[in-house]
């Protein structure tokens, strides 16, 4: 039957080309759209973050290894890179600046090989705890060994060394951004390719059922160890890019804080899908760089977002997207858009009220010096006046109430659609 033929024809590859081209295109045009120097650094950091988070997800999502110390590999990669960079400036070494990230990668690889030999012997909670311990040790040592880590001030370098190649000095941030973008693209492709190789597949198998793996000819520890080293390499590359971007590396790059951020945002982006960590990395930069600048309550927002996300979307942002893509694939997304609009509108209202209140509380606590007046999203609020508070409360009540209403309709619609999809699936399977 012709149906059969359609089934075997794989249009996937075309789709894949489109996706990759789109990705490259975004990387290419992003700095043309956002030109301020802050957005340039943010874009650069996103590129770096994407590589680290993807490499982290190699462990977490693909290998089921919960690591609390991934910053050790990216961080030591950064240190390797900065030392290399300084040797280049000192004339002791002759490699082009554009290859410094590879040096970082090799640094990460070596460290991962040494530490991984120990940590990957175990899995599960024990692995997690060892990485926690190793992370703390490395961080503490980094403050104790100023000779290598540069102490509190860290080690700085200058990326503008060597002969400019075709006018590229890496002085301007744009040039650094494009270097990062190129690395980001290549690493993303390579890590994606990894998931399609025998080792990548066995890593999934080890995640799912390490015991059985031993009975189909593979050594689980070996699989974990090799993958760990590869993840270490990519983390190191990201570390090397970090070096070029900031031109200074301090002990914080190996801190538990960093490792924690990788974990949190990889998860938030969605560890179950390959592209999840990419979203996670973008969010990470927004949260840590931008959010903290926009509001003093950023930690509170971050914490609450986390609670909510983990509770209601444990698969991360990526899974939310994929759920909708599935609906779209059955051509039923159209039916939802009014619901989405309602949800977004009511949610925004509620959030507006809530954040207005949070911001007012913070203003009272932190910015009294500036008087009771504060501006919030362009509006002037008087934190001592009743009207601002009443208004905010009203917004919350109205927003939450309407949100609940639209949520109910949405849930019902959603359930209906899922049922129809199930039915459709069964119909297709029966064919």
């Amino acid at each position: 039957m012709s149906q059969q033929a359609v089934y075997h024809f794989k249009p996937v590859n075309l789709g894949r080309w489109i996706v990759w081209t789109l990705f490259a295109l975004i990387l290419f045009v992003a700095p043309k759209l956002f030109t301020s120097s802050l957005s340039m650094t943010m874009l650069s950091q996103m590129g770096i973050g994407i590589i680290v988070c993807l490499s982290y997800n190699m462990l977490l999502g693909q290998g089921g290894m919960l690591s609390f110390g991934h910053a050790v590999y990216s961080g030591l990669g950064s240190f390797a890179a900065i030392h290399a960079l300084n040797h280049v400036s000192g004339g002791g070494l002759n490699i082009p600046v554009s290859l410094i990230p590879v040096v970082g990668g090799i640094g990460g690889l070596i460290v991962a090989a040494i530490l991984g030999a120990v940590t990957t012997k175990k899995s599960g909670t024990i692995f997690a705890m060892i990485t926690l311990g190793v992370g703390e040790l490395v961080y503490s040592m980094s403050l104790m060994l100023p000779e290598f880590f540069g102490g509190e001030g860290g080690i700085s370098g200058n990326r503008v060394v060597g002969e400019p190649f075709m006018g590229i000095t890496f002085g301007p941030q744009t040039q650094v951004y494009y270097l990062i973008a190129v690395y980001c693209f290549i690493c993303t492709v390579l890590m994606y390719a990894f998931t399609r190789t025998p080792l990548g597949r066995m890593l999934n198998a080890v995640r799912d059922n390490p015991e059985r793996v031993e009975f189909i000819g593979y050594d689980t520890q070996r699989v974990r160890f090799l993958s760990f080293m590869i993840a270490g390499f990519f983390a190191g590359v990201a570390g090397g890019l970090y070096t070029l971007n900031f031109e200074i590396v301090t002990a914080e790059v190996v801190s538990a804080h960093r490792s924690g951020a990788y974990l949190l945002f990889t998860f938030l982006g969605g560890a179950l899908f390959y592209f999840g960590p990419i979203i996670g990395a973008v969010l990470m930069v927004f949260a840590t760089v931008l959010l903290s600048e926009l509001t003093k309550a950023w930690l509170l927002y971050l914490g609450v977002i986390f609670l909510v996300m983990v509770m209601y979307a444990p698969g991360g942002v990526a899974s939310l997207i994929m759920m909708n893509v599935r609906v779209a694939a059955y051509g039923m997304l159209r039916r939802l858009w009014t619901s989405y609009l309602a949800l977004a509108g009511t949610l925004a209202t509620a959030l507006l009220g809530i954040s207005a209140m949070v911001e007012m509380v913070y203003h009272i606590k932190l910015n009294e010096a500036l008087g009771p007046q504060m501006s919030f999203l362009g509006a002037e609020l008087n934190t001592r006046g009743l009207d601002a508070w009443l208004g905010a409360v009203l917004l919350v009540i109205v927003g939450v109430g309407l949100f609940e209403l639209s949520r109910r309709t949405f849930v019902q619609q959603w359930g209906q659609i899922q049922e129809e999809i199930e039915a459709e699936n069964r119909r297709r399977a029966a064919l």
Binding site: M42, G151, G153, T250, V289, L299
Partner: protein
């Protein structure tokens, strides 16, 4: 320049280990800016833009970018020499790569001597006295204390702590060769919860004096543990007055904690006025008086340069002599280190002469000795590169 608004970016932590200190300093800046906006020699208006650097050098650089985007030309920072070093480096590069958009860095508390020595920069000005200067004052004071015989050094294991230990040993060897250094301990930054073993060790060493550069909980916990174990040695500190620490010192530390600084709570005058107003407003202590020097000198320099252009203002700041809360001071041209008097104070109950009650403890830091600027002045190895 009259009537112009000058944006000053405050890049310091509002989260992390030093968040509480950071919030106090931010308020201090907002408070001083408000005072000066009422009247200042340059007739400009200051607007403080606060950016949380989370105590992280890398985040400080992000903050710098964002500040530059917002049209800021003046950056103030102080909490943590790590971030300061990163900022100096970042600003040097920025100014080199973006002529016409120069940034000036006014450092009010980061005390790593490197900042005005090997790492000195034309764009950096320091208003606090660095570790070596404070130690100079401390050791000069110790020189006169006959009862100091055995000294114990305990410090945080990072650059600042290393430097305190280093300068203490050098200073003592120079001024009081008879004093014995009976211990030199380093402990990790903000990781020790129980200082009892350290105190026991100090006790066992027979030390009568402890010199420490510790700050925050590392100092509070240390003194607390000493109180508990009945250790009677005297503590010479750098940061006894930082928010929260006085509370932890409490009455038990009466007479045992000395502190060196560029000012003190009971000096009256401008500072006295600032303290009272600040307390009335925020119910908090205005402990970083350097904030005032920073803003006053900035306005003076602008008046002198007749411009708010950072390049001109930086030139005017070099060697600027101005009057601030602790007298007539000078921003030394060679290394951009403010030359100012230093004071040794002692933790004691409030009395008629020393009436400022710190953190409602009924205690205060009372003056024991004042040193003129030249006493604590240290030579600099700075080879300043000035823009041509």
């Amino acid at each position: 320049q009259k009537g112009e608004t000058v944006k000053v970016a405050w890049i310091d932590p509002l989260s992390g280990l030093m968040a509480s200190i950071g919030q106090n300093q931010l308020k201090s800046y907002q408070f001083v800016a408000e005072k000066l906006n009422a009247s200042n020699p340059a007739g400009v208006k200051f607007e403080i833009i606060s950016i949380d650097n989370k105590l992280s050098p890398a985040e400080s650089l992000n903050a710098l970018k964002s500040a530059a985007d917002q049209g800021v030309r003046y950056v103030v920072q102080g909490l943590g020499s790590g971030a300061a070093l990163a900022l100096v480096d970042g600003i040097n590069k920025h100014n080199e790569r973006n002529p016409g958009k120069e940034l000036v860095f006014l450092n009010y508390a980061a005390v790593d001597p490197d900042l005005t020595n090997s790492k000195c920069s034309y764009w950096h000005f320091r208003y606090d006295a660095d570790t070596s200067m404070k130690m100079e004052a401390l050791t000069t004071f110790i020189k006169e204390q006959a009862d100091v015989k055995k000294v114990y050094l305990i410090n945080q294991n990072y650059a600042h702590g290393h430097q305190v230990a280093k300068y203490a040993k050098a200073g003592l060897a120079r001024k009081r060769p008879d004093v014995q250094v009976v211990g030199d301990d380093l402990h990790p930054l903000a990781q020790v919860r129980d200082f009892a073993p350290y105190v026991a060790k100090i006790k066992a060493s027979g030390a009568d004096t402890v010199i420490t550069g510790n700050w925050g909980s590392d100092l509070a916990l240390l003194v607390k543990a000493a109180n508990d174990a009945g250790l009677t040695a005297k503590f010479y500190t750098y940061y006894g007055n930082f928010g929260g620490t006085p509370t932890a010192l409490g009455k038990a530390a009466d007479g045992r904690v000395y502190q060196v600084g560029y000012g003190h709570y009971n000096m009256g005058g401008v500072y006295g006025q600032l303290l009272t107003d600040f307390k009335k407003r925020f119910n908090d202590d205005f402990y970083s008086a350097a904030v005032y020097s920073v803003m006053v000198s900035l306005s003076d320099a602008m008046a002198k340069a007749k411009s708010t252009d950072p390049v001109k203002v930086a030139a005017a700041l070099e060697g600027l002599k101005f009057k601030t809360f602790n007298g007539d001071v000078e921003m030394r041209k060679g290394d951009h280190q403010l030359q100012q008097p230093l004071f040794i104070t002692k933790w004691q109950p409030v009395d008629a002469k020393n009436a400022y009650d710190v953190e409602k403890t009924g205690m205060t830091f009372g003056l024991v000795k004042a040193y003129d600027a030249y006493v604590s002045s240290t030579p600099s190895s700075c080879q300043m590169k000035r823009p041509s």
